[in-house]
Symmetry: C2
Subunit: 133 residues, 2 copies
DNA sequence: CGTATTGGCTTACACGTGTAGTCCATGAAC
DNA sequence: GTTCATGGACTACACGTGTAAGCCAATACG
């Protein structure tokens, strides 16, 4: 396992498309475009199509002809992409140090008490990982 | 305060340069290049110079001629850039939701007990913000 | 069936980015 | 003083990205 499929670099706009695909697949271009425009009406179908094609070329998506239209399927999982993007971000902006980054976020956004409690719970879970069945 | 100077978008490579500048300013191009090559010997001086010029054009750096050479000075603080980049990252990769992001990082990297304690401390501090002098 | 529409394929194009090279003036070294 | 090295300005160039338009075939509509 852990085949390291080498997640392609996903650009800003491409992320939006990918998330539309991850939201439910397989999905036709039409469906994907619908989701995109639902979230942001300024999306132009042609633009979305271009992005889909690029993502296929990049190896982030695959498609299968279904009749005369394509159904798209992600080739990389959201988890993988999130991990890759996070790693890159962490490296670039915080020089790879996790703690300053977490500190920044915790400070920058006022968390609600609940959010903080949840986060704390996460932390508990973290260091006793594997312990809880 | 909080003049919102509209932080310019700093690219991947430009971040390296900016961090070299933030590391100590004002600094001459030579000094900055030295820092860059110290961290990564593959840096080509010319490339660094190009980046410096671009950063000036972008409004991220300013310079002042000192004799026949320039001393550079950041126009945007690391804090500002970190905040902007973080915001953008959070938006793009986690759709703006802080909690999933924190969850991801806490899960993805095994934190040491101490790191977790520190983070917990941060959290405490967070919700009782302003309390600690 | 002819026509408008839909969906995919191809092409466009400007601006950003990574990565330098060239040109030129000035100052340092002899 | 002539030469070489340094430093900045300008130029280059390919590839990525955002943003589409044009072309063409099949399908749906009337």
């Amino acid at each position: 396992m852990n085949a390291q499929v080498k997640v392609p670099r996903i650009s800003e706009t491409e992320w939006e498309v990918m998330r539309a695909v991850w939201a439910g697949h397989p999905a036709t271009a039409g469906e994907i475009i619908e989701r995109l425009t639902a979230a942001d009406p300024t999306w132009h179908p042609k633009t979305a199509k271009t992005l889909l094609a690029r993502l296929v070329r990049k190896g982030a998506l695959d498609y299968e002809a279904q009749g005369r239209r394509y159904v798209y399927e992600p080739l990389v999982s959201e988890r993988q992409c999130v991990a890759a993007a996070s790693e890159s971000f962490l490296e670039r902006v915080f020089g790879g140090s996790l703690k300053p980054m977490l500190a920044h976020f915790v400070e920058s956004r006022r968390l609600s008490r609940e959010e903080m409690d949840e986060l704390r719970a996460l932390l508990e879970n973290g260091w006793s990982k594997g312990k809880r069945p």
